[in-house]
């Protein structure tokens, strides 16, 4: 008799008798329970956040007020968008590279198949999840306090985010590599580090680069938010124009950002397909 969970004890499984006389049991579906929990959660959070479908339906047209002001975008503003746009791209490029390079040693220390000390791997894994819990915006804000307003703070924030994101994926990748060649190289008398360099590194490299590229795509978009807290880039002028309610110019900035993101994403997804 297999162990029965509480749910199965309350709601008895349905049993069928086969022609051979054997009795089989079908467990009751969990879906009603899941649905009940979901409904309770929806109602409580609806209460807490003041969700009202009524407001939404009657006032949704106000959503488009700003959006309508954005079209047509103010093309004459474009010359002044270039500089911050380039800043945003540069920030995210440098931040992604720095974060990606920094995370390599940490990820090796996290991988339980390379480091056999449980305490070390657990410590660094916890360190990664701790860094990941800090919202990027908060990191950017802290960075502006420490390093002053400007693109450097944004670059630091992006580097920290990339570090935590790519690092986690990298150590998970390292833990799933085929360790045979690593063992063979160690048996030939290679040191730990060169065995990692020649056996583990080539296996994880394509996936790692692909992830860094993916992260970079997201970072370009993210870098435009960071300017909002004074960390340089597009967000800076975006915030300014919103403050002046010059929505046609806001539309121009967003359009420029959109085109950039589309170009970067198609280039990077081409390379990621090559890598896969």
């Amino acid at each position: 008799m297999p162990k029965m969970s509480l749910y199965d004890k309350v709601f008895k499984p349905r049993s069928y008798t086969l022609e051979s006389g054997q009795v089989i049991e079908e467990k009751r579906s969990r879906i009603p329970l899941v649905l009940l929990v979901l409904v309770i959660l929806v109602i409580t959070s609806g209460e807490l956040t003041g969700f009202s479908l009524d407001t939404l339906v009657t006032r949704i047209n106000y959503f488009f007020v700003i959006l309508r002001d954005m079209v047509p975008p103010d093309w004459s503003y474009m010359p002044r968008v270039w500089q911050p746009l380039m800043d945003t791209i540069k920030m995210s490029l440098l931040g992604s590279v720095v974060g990606a390079v920094l995370c390599i040693p940490f990820s090796i220390l996290c991988a339980s198949n390379l480091v056999h000390n449980k305490v070390i791997t657990a410590f660094f894994k916890f360190f990664y999840s701790l860094v990941r819990t800090l919202p990027t915006l908060v990191i950017a804000l802290i960075a502006t306090y420490i390093f002053g307003l400007g693109t450097f703070a944004g670059t630091v924030a992006i580097a920290v985010f990339t570090f935590a994101y790519c690092g986690k994926i990298l150590y998970e990748q390292i833990e799933t590599v085929d360790m045979g060649s690593h063992e063979a190289l160690e048996a030939l008398g290679m040191g730990r580090l060169s065995a990692i360099r020649y056996a583990v590194w080539p296996q994880v490299l394509p996936g790692f680069i692909s992830n860094v590229l993916f992260c970079f795509e997201g970072n370009v978009r993210y870098a435009s938010i960071l300017g909002y807290v004074g960390a340089g880039g597009l967000g800076l002028i975006l915030n300014e124009r919103i403050g002046w309610m010059e929505y046609a110019r806001v539309g121009m900035i967003l359009l420029a950002l959109f085109v950039t993101v589309v170009i970067i994403e198609s280039v990077s997804s081409y390379f990621r397909k090559k890598l896969a």
């Binding site: 929806v42 956040t49 440098l94 802290i142 306090y145």
Partner: protein, 271 residues
């Protein structure tokens, strides 16, 4: 003719890659140098270290009155509100993402349509959260409701991308065999499509909830509820102990939610 090669000869037959390596390194250095040119910061005049020290001390000595009061200004209530925003935001986002994801799947609609829909999703994703925040504040007024709607708009991009991927992986063989067994359209959806999509959809939703909880601080920028606004106020007025209390609460909550969500997702993956 001697076909046996010595080790030295084998090594000399190794493909020569130095040119490719050189070009790659040069390009990378050039690009990095170019991007480093943008890095500049206005010096804080040595106060940076003091601020760093303040933050570290603040996290080590959080304000207990903020951390443990149950009123509407206390951290527990703010965290609860943030969780509600993230939860409903994810749900509403999923509902909004559904049409996009079915229309973006190239095995359901013709390729050009799918491409245009994907472009539209990208456009939706490019608008930064605080712009959405402003738009929704015009609809609902400042508060948690605006935050919820903002969060749902920001979730559309990733959700519909992941949904589309799982829709494109649908196994059509199952539908054909259901057809052969004489099932009608509803039966096919109920027994052929839903069981295939539910695990990956719910896994995506749980993951997005996790992310939304983390990103909820962005909403504070525009006064759209949640824990972001008190956090930013505390930072701007250098109340590091309050910052410490809020950050501590947020970090602990996110760690717990992440742990639960990864448990749930492994369970879903194993079926």
């Amino acid at each position: 003719m001697n076909l046996e090669l010595t080790y030295a000869e084998t090594l000399s037959h190794e493909p020569k890659k130095w040119r490719a390596v050189l070009v790659t390194v040069l390009l990378s250095v050039l690009i990095l140098g170019w991007s480093a040119s943008a890095v500049q910061s206005n010096s804080t005049g040595g106060s940076g270290l003091a601020v760093a020290k303040g933050i570290v001390l603040g996290i080590l000595h959080p304000t207990p009155s903020l951390l443990f009061t149950l009123g509407t200004n206390g951290v527990p209530y703010l965290l609860l509100e943030t969780m509600s925003i993230a939860f409903l935001g994810t749900l509403v986002g999923a509902i909004l993402a559904l049409p996009f994801s079915f229309l973006g799947a190239s095995n359901i609609v013709p390729k050009p349509v799918a491409y245009i829909v994907r472009l539209a999703v990208m456009a939706v994703r490019t608008i930064p959260p605080f712009v959405y925040g402003l738009m929704f504040i015009m609809v609902t007024g400042p508060g948690a409701f605006a935050g919820l709607l903002t969060m749902s708009c920001c979730s559309i991009g990733m959700l519909s991308k992941m949904f589309t991927e799982s829709i494109e992986e649908l196994d059509r063989g199952i539908l054909e065999s259901l057809d052969a067994a004489g099932c009608n359209t509803w039966d096919k959806i109920r027994y052929g499509i839903l069981p295939q999509l539910m695990p990956s959809f719910s896994s995506t939703l749980i993951y997005r909830f996790d992310m939304n909880l983390r990103d909820a601080s962005v909403l504070g920028l525009v006064g759209a509820g949640g824990i972001g606004a008190p956090l930013l106020f505390a930072m701007n007025s250098y109340r590091w102990n309050d910052v410490g209390a809020i950050l501590l609460g947020l970090v602990i909550l996110v760690l717990i939610v992440e742990w639960i969500s990864s448990k749930l997702r492994t369970k879903l993956m194993r079926g």
